[in-house]
Amino acid sequence: MNHRQDGLDLGVTSPHRWAGDRHVAYFARMAGPMDKAVSRCKSRVGVAMVFLVVGLLFVSYRLVDIALMRAGQSGRVFQVSKHASPALGRADVVDRNGTLLATNLVTSSVFANPRMIGEPTQLARKLVAIFPDLSMTKLEKQLKSDRTFVWVKRNITPQQQYEVNKLGVPGLNFQKEEQRVYPQGQLLGHVLGYVDVDNHGIAGIEKSLNSTLVDPAHYAEPITLSIDTRVQHTMHTVLQEGIKEFQAKGAVGIVLNVRTGEVISMVSLPDFDPHQPNSPGAADARFNRASLGVYEMGSTFKGFTIAMALDSGRVKMSDQFDATQPISFGRFKINDSHPEHRWLTLPEVFMLSSNIGTVKIVEKMGPKKQQEYFRQLGFFEPVNIELPERGAPMFPSQWQELTMMTTSFGHGIAVSPLHVVRATAALVNGGRLPELTLLKTSADAMPKGKQVVKSETSQAMRMLMRQVVVEGTGKSSEVKGYFIGGKTGTAEKTTSGGYDKKALLTSFVASFPMQNPQYVTLVMFDEPQPTKKTYGFATAGWNAAPMTALLVERIAPLLGVMPLPVDETEIIAKRKH
């Protein structure tokens, strides 16, 4: 091979001749000063190559990583609340069937920055055109003031929002607020209560459960009440009919589940719109007569007297009592409204609602024992229920013989209708005083009530109450198939210095079906008037009892109580259709 000796010739002179050992010749030619530079250059290229390869490997690793490895992770997905309704500042309230009773809706509120308003008078005029209930002078004064923030109107409708927006005034602005809305309107005004403008509860359930309603942990779960809206509506309708027919000033209706103590319905008339609790004349309507008002309930107490007398063993069903003459005690005379002038058996005393007979019965008990039973039945304390409006009973501090006599037939002691319903439930459900609640509870979750009378006494009371409806003062409450039992109560309201014969408080406490009572109802009218149809009578048997019949016939299917087949000949059916 002839290669040049100077080493500069880097290539091959002729491919043909050097083909075999071309590479050898190539590298053989490196031995020289230029070869060092070349090798340095080549090594730098090599290093660059290495970097490139590393970079390539890294990129491909990242690619694979992102594409395959991260497939399971969620990355930066933001969590949407799992719950159905958006998280608002106050929990919903629903009834036992899930009907929405109270909820927050997002509304806009208009505010103004008076400093940015150039023509306050003109703007005030335009705003009053949109919101007629705003006062022109007051608004003008506010807009002319030097403040930076002034409410114009809170919780406006979308239509009003559109109109305000259309004005195009830069000084006006909107802020999102939540407003409490009650879709069922007036129907549950007393039970639910209402909130103030900042959504703090100030009455009813809204107040008593306020902390639960605003608790963030409970936002999304509604609070379920024991109230059944359909039963509430039926009660409301029946009471309204009664008020119209008997010209009464007010009415109370309660339906209670005897086993669980759940209040299925609580109506107090007159009622009010919870969206406008401060409208004129609403003060009387806001008063919850069912829970806060305390009244002398009258003859409904005779059931408690007889129950305690039987329970203590001091009397028997077969005993007889002298009701021939009224009872005189000092300057007081106790008489029957329909004197029988004969001896009465215990069932007759109850069925005919004899005051004299009841006093004779309670005399066998004595005041101390009677007081003890009243305490057991819960008549000396407010009823424990989830409402802030709970009436404390009124009774004399000195329990003397006269007190014993009068309280035996329901005068001289004032309790709320809830007290009477609860104690009656104890009489019919086997003797346990239930704990009342407005929240939906199942039978097993409720604590077992205290046993206040024996179960035999309860059985006896059920029979006696049934007899009141079959043969006694409660005949007009009979409804075929439901075997209602109950007790009428006609009490004279107290006026200054005595009782007013013309102002009555009539009530009928009932339970059905009497073989196995499920519910207790109370219907009470405030000052019902005698009518032509009632032949001039205004006692409970003429107004409260027939209204109860109407009520039970309508609510029993709703409550799942089916009518039982009856033998028609045995029921004295005096119902008019």
């Binding site: 490139l52 075929k480 309508r554 089916m562 033998d567």
Partner: protein, 171 residues
């Protein structure tokens, strides 16, 4: 050497291109997700408002007024309610006398008309076992059970009266 370098460089460029493409795709998807989630929230708010409106429109007072006005409905009464157990179930068909097939083809004149014995559906209390005695509250119905032919019963309750008094049935 050069070729492989070019090759590697090209590969690097392609890979980077792919990587950033994936990255931007992911970003776009995340934006889509955020958008969808915002829409979900808006829809849920709408649903909430609609639920409030639903509750308002299904107020019992309103429904009652509408039902009375347009459907002429009234509250149900005792006569319109019944329990499943009280509905009399059909008895097994009583045996019908077999119609003999004529051996000879029937002539016009000698057509034998054989009618099956009429089988009225009878409420048969005898089949029911005399069950639990009626409770103390109701006066026990002591009369003997009388089979009532259903066709002649004025209402369902009349037809059942016998059956239930015999069985004393109630829950």
């Amino acid at each position: 050497m050069r070729k492989s370098m070019i090759f590697l460089l090209l590969g690097l460029v392609v890979m980077s291109f792919l990587l950033f493409r994936v990255r931007y795709q992911v970003q776009e998807l995340e934006e889509d997700v955020a958008h969808v989630e915002r829409t979900i929230i808006e829809e849920r708010e709408s649903i909430h408002v609609l639920q409030a409106e639903w509750s308002y429109l299904t107020r019992p007072a309103r429904l009652q007024a509408l039902a009375e006005k347009h459907l002429g409905m009234k509250p149900a009464t005792y006569e319109q309610l019944a329990r499943w157990e009280d509905i009399p179930m059909l008895e097994a068909e009583p045996a019908v006398a077999e119609v003999p097939v004529p051996a000879v083809e029937p002539q016009e004149k000698t057509v034998a008309v054989v009618e099956p014995a009429p089988a009225p559906v009878v409420v048969a209390p005898a089949k029911k076992a005399p069950a639990a005695k009626p409770p103390a509250k109701i006066a026990a119905a002591k009369k003997a059970p009388v089979p009532v032919v259903r066709d002649e019963a004025a209402t369902v309750w009349d037809a059942l009266r016998v059956e239930t008094s015999a069985s004393g049935g109630h829950r």
